[in-house]
């Protein structure tokens, strides 16, 4: 029994807190019962119809091949492995797409606000064209109209007889590390740490003395120079496997699938059009007074943009940018249209078809996209929190 504010004892069902808890509890129980009912029913029906269920199929031999695998895979691998292969391919094209879409998007977004008439109009045309054509049509355009029009392997276009491009994709030399190469990555790590340390020192020095170090040049020198020096000192322990035309196709080198390139291009170009608009709106949300103040301090245009405008614009940009990244990841499932072996094409396509276990596979696929999206969203939220207006 609880007491009313006046101190009188009231009946339990009149206590709003108690009532709220009961209501929530009942709702939760009803939801759990509903889900339990659906699951039990599904299982019973699948059983009755003689459709096999469970996740045992993940350990069975897959027996089909996949054209692009980032990890070891053969027809003898398991269906579980096809899941990982498909997932990695999805992550690869998404990561590549996010990087390029961000670069193009920022460039075009800033260009739209340029005082150069031609540049601004070109950027507007870019946004209006690529934002308004359905993505699937763009993917098919890049794949069938552009990349499939390239010459056959025998008539490949080549760059210095080392890099080849043809209808089967792009073939580039493949670096083969020899013994002693291991020192180079370590040197890169040392260079990176040194560059970060230098950055911290330079910032403190600037705060103390007001003098800036040429941090970008020094940093780049450390990051590139250290591993290069070690690489040369250890006697260049790297060999290139140069692609060579043998029989049907090139042997040696690394082949980049045209399906990957088409999907990557289409996703980047399409998403960049949206990012450009987001960047433009972000920049325009920064009050003019900020730029005027920077001009009054006679800061150069580049520094004004980098140090004054963009940091403030990011507060507007980041939440919407997150949505675009998530869209890009999910749109990558259109890969199946051109045969890029992503998660949907491989796992919820071929694997589903070979095993027939639709419910398990579709559920796993949906869970994967949910998890990827939540992780990206969480990371972007962390970044957003850092760029938020600091209330002082």
């Amino acid at each position: 029994m609880s007491r009313s504010p006046s101190g009188d004892r009231v009946a339990l069902w009149r206590n709003p807190t108690f009532r709220a808890y009961v209501l929530q509890g009942v709702l939760l129980a009803a939801l759990a019962a509903l889900i339990g009912f659906i699951v039990a029913n599904t299982m019973a029906n699948l059983e009755a119809r003689g459709i096999s269920t469970g996740f045992g199929f993940l350990d069975e031999r897959a027996g089909f091949s996949i054209p692009q695998t980032l990890i070891e895979y053969s027809g003898d691998s398991t269906y579980g492995r096809t899941f990982v292969v498909g997932l990695l391919n999805t992550l690869l094209v998404s990561a590549l797409g996010i990087v390029v879409a961000t670069i193009i998007g920022f460039a075009v977004g800033i260009a739209r606000l340029s005082s150069n008439w031609l540049l601004a109009r070109l950027a507007t045309a870019y946004v209006e064209i690529f934002r308004n054509i359905p993505l699937l049509v763009q993917i098919l355009f890049w794949y069938f109209a552009v990349l499939q029009a390239l010459p056959s392997p025998r008539q490949s276009l080549s760059l210095l007889e080392v890099i080849f491009i043809n209808v089967r994709g792009l073939v580039i030399p493949d670096p083969q590390p020899l013994s002693g190469f291991a020192a180079t990555p370590w040197a890169l790590l040392v260079g990176l740490i040194a560059a970060i340390a230098l950055g911290v020192y330079a910032k403190r020095r600037q705060v103390r003395t007001g003098k800036a170090l040429p941090i970008y040049w020094l940093g780049a020198g450390l990051i590139i120079g250290t591993p290069l020096l070690v690489f040369l000192l250890t006697g260049t322990p790297l060999e290139w496997s140069i692609p060579e035309l043998t029989g049907f196709n090139f042997s040696g080198g690394v082949r980049i699938l045209p399906e990957l390139v088409a999907l990557w291009l289409a996703l980047s170009i399409y998403t960049a059009a949206f990012i450009a608009e987001i960047v433009r709106s972000g920049i325009q949300s920064v009050p003019d007074g900020q730029v005027e103040a920077a001009n009054a301090l006679s800061l150069p245009g580049g520094i004004t943009l980098r140090k004054v405008v963009i940091p403030q614009a990011m507060r507007v940009i980041v939440p919407q940018l997150t949505s675009q990244y998530l869209n890009l990841i999910k749109n990558s499932s259109l890969a199946t249209a051109i045969g890029y072996p992503d998660l949907v094409a491989v796992f919820s396509g071929t694997t589903l078809n070979q095993t027939g276990q639709a419910i398990e596979i579709v559920a796993m696929t949906m869970a994967v996209y949910l998890v990827i999206s939540l992780v990206v969203s969480a990371l972007m939220n962390v970044y957003n929190a850092r760029t938020l207006l600091k209330e002082r």
């Binding site: 599904t42 119809r49 003689g50 027996g63 049907f248 094409a345 396509g349 071929t350 589903l352």
Partner: protein, 342 residues
């Protein structure tokens, strides 16, 4: 559109299987009669088997099988709704009840028959997996394919056959996977791959879609057995029998020399007791299936016997010109053999 279909089929399927909880497995025949039409899943476009003609009417061997079933049930071969399905979508569409019968050049395999909750009925076409290559390459046997790129349709037995065949012979190949027969053929035509693999019947059909059909050849070696036939859901034996005996009736009709031209005359004056039983003059073979007793008469009158359908869709009267070969009757050198109606 097509690419989204996979989810559109799979997700409702998942929901349906859960949702249909209380409904017991209704008899498919009753559903079909009540609806007034048969829902038949066919290929999205494969000349000779199922493809819309210039008037938008579906044509082909698989399509005629469905028309035969409709003729047996309704006495009207046009009471069929065709649902085009990709290889990947087909089983889910059948499992979820979106279609009543899947007649889509589907290979009869153990997994598909035993673990998908489906049953194969009969074989309408005996096929094997073959290879199509450009004549310029001068390929004579499969051993010459080392290093080649092979275009293939996803969700087929062909994917598995390739992975069985080549690695065990130390032949290195690259597969390029597409969703529909059309895209696969386009990939081959553009030179994305050196070889197109599929059932030989499909290859003959896809070859006609190429810009220069004479520049390619189909290799003689077949690497698999591909018995193709209609599929139904497991657990409805009456429906299984109807589909199965529709095909048997068509084959038996050919064997007895009954065709769409002489079927009326044959019914009026049956030359032998076998024909009388087939055409419903004797016995109640239609009623045993839950169909009108003139079921087989309707099939033959409206659709034709197996030989007629074969020759007009894929055989000598069609652009494909596929030989009867294995698909000839058992007494004419083939392996087509239907149980007797008696």
């Amino acid at each position: 559109m097509l690419y989204k279909n996979k989810f559109m089929v799979a997700v409702p399927a998942a929901l349906l299987l859960g949702g249909l909880a209380t409904a017991s497995q209704a008899a498919t025949l009753d559903d079909v009669k009540e609806r007034g039409s048969l829902n038949c899943g066919v290929n999205v476009g494969l000349a000779g088997f199922s493809a819309p003609d210039s008037d938008g009417k579906w044509q082909g061997l698989d399509v005629e099988t469905c028309r035969g079933i409709a003729a047996a049930i309704f006495g009207d071969p046009e009471k069929v709704e065709f649902t085009p399905l990709t290889a990947k979508e087909r089983f889910t569409a059948l499992q979820s009840g979106e279609i009543d019968v899947l007649s889509r050049n589907t290979t009869w395999t153990a997994t598909r028959d035993n673990s998908l909750g489906l049953n194969f009925t009969a074989t309408t076409f005996y096929d094997g997996q073959g290879f199509m290559v450009s004549k310029d390459l001068g390929i004579e046997s499969l051993e010459d394919l080392n290093g080649a790129s092979i275009c293939i349709q996803s969700g087929t037995t062909h994917e598995l056959n390739l992975a069985d065949y080549f690695p065990s012979r130390d032949i290195d190949i690259n597969t390029v996977t597409f969703d529909t027969p059309d895209q696969t053929a386009q990939g081959f035509a553009h030179g994305r791959c050196d070889v197109l693999t599929s059932d030989t019947s499909q290859l003959s059909a896809l070859r006609l879609q190429l810009p220069e059909p004479d520049s390619v050849e189909i290799l003689e070696t077949l690497i698999s057995k591909e018995p193709l036939g209609p599929v139904v859901r497991q657990g409805d034996d009456q429906w299984l029998d109807i589909v199965q005996w529709t095909i048997f009736a068509m084959v038996n009709a050919e064997e007895m020399g009954v065709n769409s031209d002489n079927v009326d005359e044959m019914r009026d004056n049956p030359p032998n007791p076998g024909v009388a039983r087939l055409l419903g003059k004797d016995g109640n073979y239609g009623e045993q299936l839950g169909l009108p007793n003139d079921w087989a008469y309707n099939i033959i009158k409206d659709v034709g016997n197996y030989g007629e359908v074969f020759s007009s869709t894929v055989g000598e009267d069609s652009p494909l010109k596929i030989q009867r070969g294995m698909n000839a009757l058992w007494n004419e050198g083939g392996i087509l053999y239907a149980p007797p109606i008696r």
